[in-house]
């Protein structure tokens, strides 16, 4: 055990090291081989290894910095206190910055929302036991939604070093076991060198399609104790793996089928991982003059592009059997979340329908959780990342297009553009019904918000399924960051934290973050309002306050009727009223400026104006709008 002859002034040293780390460009930081913490070889620890100015967690922070993390989302917990302390002191609370959360489920969901905007993963820390138990639903959401989240769990592995009762009940043999079915990879490192290698490996695996969460379980002792004497753990070189592309022969075959098709349709679910994915889908669609149905797990295709046939498909962000797919002779499914439901109607109508699937999820199925959906007959299956495969598919298509086919494509494109225009007109006409109703119609709510943000650089961060997809029907989405889709596993309690995490990502870009927040979801995770206020995260939240778990209202209502019992008791367990929740006061109690309830649609415009003014000053704002059920 090293014994320092003259203890180093740790804070002074750390300040310099932290500043150096914080100002190092990410690309350079990735090349760091030996950490600043590990380099303090002259600084020995006293007999108690926990009395040290170079704890193992300092090295861990160097590793995190080398990976370029911007944020760490966590509710504090003793089992990862070593990492916590090193981040805020040694690491200077910058890259990663500690974002204080009020529940581990919210921590992971915030990291999820952050990724969907920034395209870069964030960290979430939790106890290996009671923290992970909270976090598990959000990890499952991220798994189903193919979102990478870097989860660090604290755990005390050595029973001889556990303290009293609390330490024991917070310890576990295999912490990650609980979420192993819904993560891509995990490890429990046994040394700092092991930690560094697994940390870098985990990052690479997490961001390689199919992108998914990973877990590292980090021993409390290893975090808090001195870096063992003589050890010089090295940070491995970090390289992001190239995503898997489709096999050339299969891609050429897909191109042949698409060019020969009379009515090909592209169905995109989680296809555009990045803004470039959106551009590529546009290029493919325009080359073929093929219709596109966007299932809205991401922004895959501009909503007002003439080839966008989504409104004709029934609008839903969920898989659809609507008109464009039913009329198709070839369906190209890109990262489909539910291929069976997508093509079922089309196959019934046209048994000779050809289905091409490009999906990275085919490379990494697990067995227990059933997110892989019902088996689907596919004519050509390409197990690869759709976005990475599109450039070669586009090239192959271009090579095959003859002048005859081009003329046919142009005629098809003209018809599709007309159908798209008609569908948009119908959506606007439909929105007029119930316009002056109170509670406020979800169409009016969406239109009033759109009127005031459309000239801004805006970003809608809430799932529109609960409001009949009105924003997707009425607004002009043409940028990847303008919508992040839903939760993935339909877990209630995702939306509120994900919107705050996503708004945090938007903050540095100066974007106007808005959300139409369901009431039941906010009640699961309303602590994020405090997080938004505390970290000054600008986000305009309009409540979709229908005072019910409305999906379940309909479910119980359906059952009661089928059982011929009437519906006079269906409010039991489904309504969120008596008393009504005052969401404005709830928000205000946590430091968020707010107003409401607003149930007269004529008052909405002024309220939204006030909200935008506040969020432009850099703070969150909430308007409690009382709305129609859907």
């Amino acid at each position: 055990m090293d014994q320092p002859k003259k203890p180093l002034n740790r804070r002074g040293f750390l300040k310099g090291a932290a500043l150096a780390a914080a100002t190092t460009p990410a690309g350079v930081a990735q090349q760091v081989r030996v950490s600043a913490a590990a380099n303090v070889t002259e600084n020995a620890a006293p007999a108690d290894p926990r009395i040290t100015d170079r704890p193992g967690a300092d090295f861990m922070v160097d590793v995190f910095k080398s990976l370029g993390f911007e944020y760490l989302f966590a509710m504090p917990g003793s089992s990862f206190a070593g990492i916590h302390e090193s981040i805020i002191n040694y690491g200077g609370n910058s890259a990663p910055e500690f974002i204080t959360c009020c529940n581990e489920e919210s921590s992971v969901a915030m990291a999820n929302g952050y990724f969907k905007i920034e395209g870069k993963p964030a960290m979430a820390c939790a106890h290996g036991t009671v923290g992970l138990q909270h976090a598990s639903m959000a990890i499952y959401d991220s798994f189903c939604d193919r979102v990478p989240v870097y989860v660090i769990l604290g755990n005390t592995l050595d029973a001889a070093h556990r303290g009293g009762e609390v330490s024991w009940v917070h310890s576990v043999q295999d912490a990650a076991a609980m979420v192993r079915d819904v993560t891509k990879w995990d490890d429990t490192p046994q040394s700092l060198q092991h930690f560094a290698e697994s940390a870098v490996r985990a990052y690479g695996m997490m961001v390689t399609p199919p992108t998914m969460p990973v877990v590292l379980t980090v021993d409390t002792e290893m975090q808090e104790s001195a870096i063992p004497a003589g050890e010089h753990p090295r940070i491995p070189k970090f390289t992001i793996p190239a995503p898997p592309q489709g096999e050339t022969g299969a891609v050429n075959e897909a191109a042949k089928m698409l060019v020969a098709a009379e009515n090909p349709v592209i169905v995109a679910s989680r296809a555009a991982r990045t803004p470039n994915g959106l551009k590529l889908i546009v290029e493919l669609a325009e080359t073929l003059q093929a219709g596109v149905v966007d299932q809205h797990r991401r922004v895959n295709f501009p909503s007002r592009h003439p080839l966008n046939q989504t409104l004709r498909a029934g609008v839903s962000g969920k898989p659809t059997t609507g008109a464009p797919v039913v009329e198709a002779d070839v369906v190209l499914a890109l990262e489909s979340s539910d291929l069976y439901s997508t093509v079922r109607g089309a196959k019934q109508r046209n048994p000779s329908l050809k289905v091409i699937s490009i999906s990275s999820v085919d490379l990494n199925h697990k067995a227990n959780y059933q997110d892989f959906m019902r088996f689907t007959d596919v004519d050509l299956s390409i197990a690869a990342d759709a976005e990475a495969t599109l450039p070669s598919l586009i090239e192959a298509v271009k090579r095959l297009v003859t002048s005859d086919r081009r003329r046919a494509f142009e005629a098809r494109g003209t018809k599709l553009a007309q159908a798209s225009r008609q569908a948009a007109e119908k959506a606007r006409a439909d929105a007029a019904y119930g316009w002056d109703a109170s509670p406020i119609s979800t169409a009016r709510l969406s239109a009033e918000l759109w009127a005031q943000i459309q000239k801004e650089d805006w970003s809608l961060l809430s799932d529109t399924f609960w409001i009949r997809e009105w924003p997707l029907r009425l607004w002009n989405f043409d940028k990847h960051y303008q919508y992040i889709g839903g939760s993935g596993a339909e877990g209630v309690g995702y939306m509120a934290p994900a919107t705050v995490g996503a708004a945090l990502a938007n903050k540095k870009h100066g974007r106007l973050s808005v959300a139409i927040q369901t009431d039941g979801d906010l009640m699961v995770a309303n602590g994020v309002l405090w997080t938004a206020a505390h970290h000054r995260i600008p986000l305009l939240t309009l409540m979709h306050n229908n005072r019910a778990y409305h999906q379940e209202v309909m479910g119980i209502q359906g059952l009661a009727n089928r059982h011929n019992r009437g519906i006079d008791r269906i409010h039991i367990g489904t309504k969120i009223d008596n008393p009504n929740i005052d969401y404005a006061k709830l928000a205000q109690s946590m430091g968020v400026r707010a107003e409401g309830p607003v149930s007269d649609p004529k008052e909405l415009a002024a309220a939204i104006r006030r909200g935008i003014e506040v969020i432009k000053s850099g703070e969150p704002y909430l308007i409690d709008t009382v709305t129609q059920p859907r």
Binding site: A429, D430, W435, S441, H550, G558, N561, P629, R630
Partner: protein, 110 residues
């Protein structure tokens, strides 16, 4: 989709029992519309929601009653035990009182 199913159901009404053509009581119909949870899927003024739009210009009484008894899509059936023909007629009367939407809404211009 639900609209299609509703149309299909209407197509088959010749086979169903004749329903009294009751003009209905709109005031009672509004009460029933809420009591029976119709608004949960169709909106408080029948503008549509998870279920299709019902107002203004609701279906004819016979067609509406036939559909309520044997609905399509995800709608649960309302038997005569739960909702009488007269009550359906009252609900229809309420839906018929819903005004047409405004013709010119600036916020809905392209």
């Amino acid at each position: 989709m639900r609209r299609l199913m509703m149309a299909a159901a209407i197509g088959g009404i010749g086979l169903l029992p004749v329903v009294a053509q009751n003009a209905g009581n709109a005031e009672n119909g509004k009460k029933l519309f809420f009591q029976n949870g119709c608004y949960e899927c169709h909106g408080t003024v029948g503008q549509g929601g998870t279920g299709p739009r019902l107002a203004p210009r609701p279906l004819a009484a016979a067609a509406l009653t036939a559909y309520v008894r044997k609905p399509g899509g995800g709608m649960p059936p309302y038997s005569a035990k739960v909702m009488s023909d007269a009550e359906v007629a009252d609900i229809r009367a309420y839906l018929a009182t819903v005004p047409e939407p405004p013709k010119e809404i600036p916020l809905l211009k392209p």
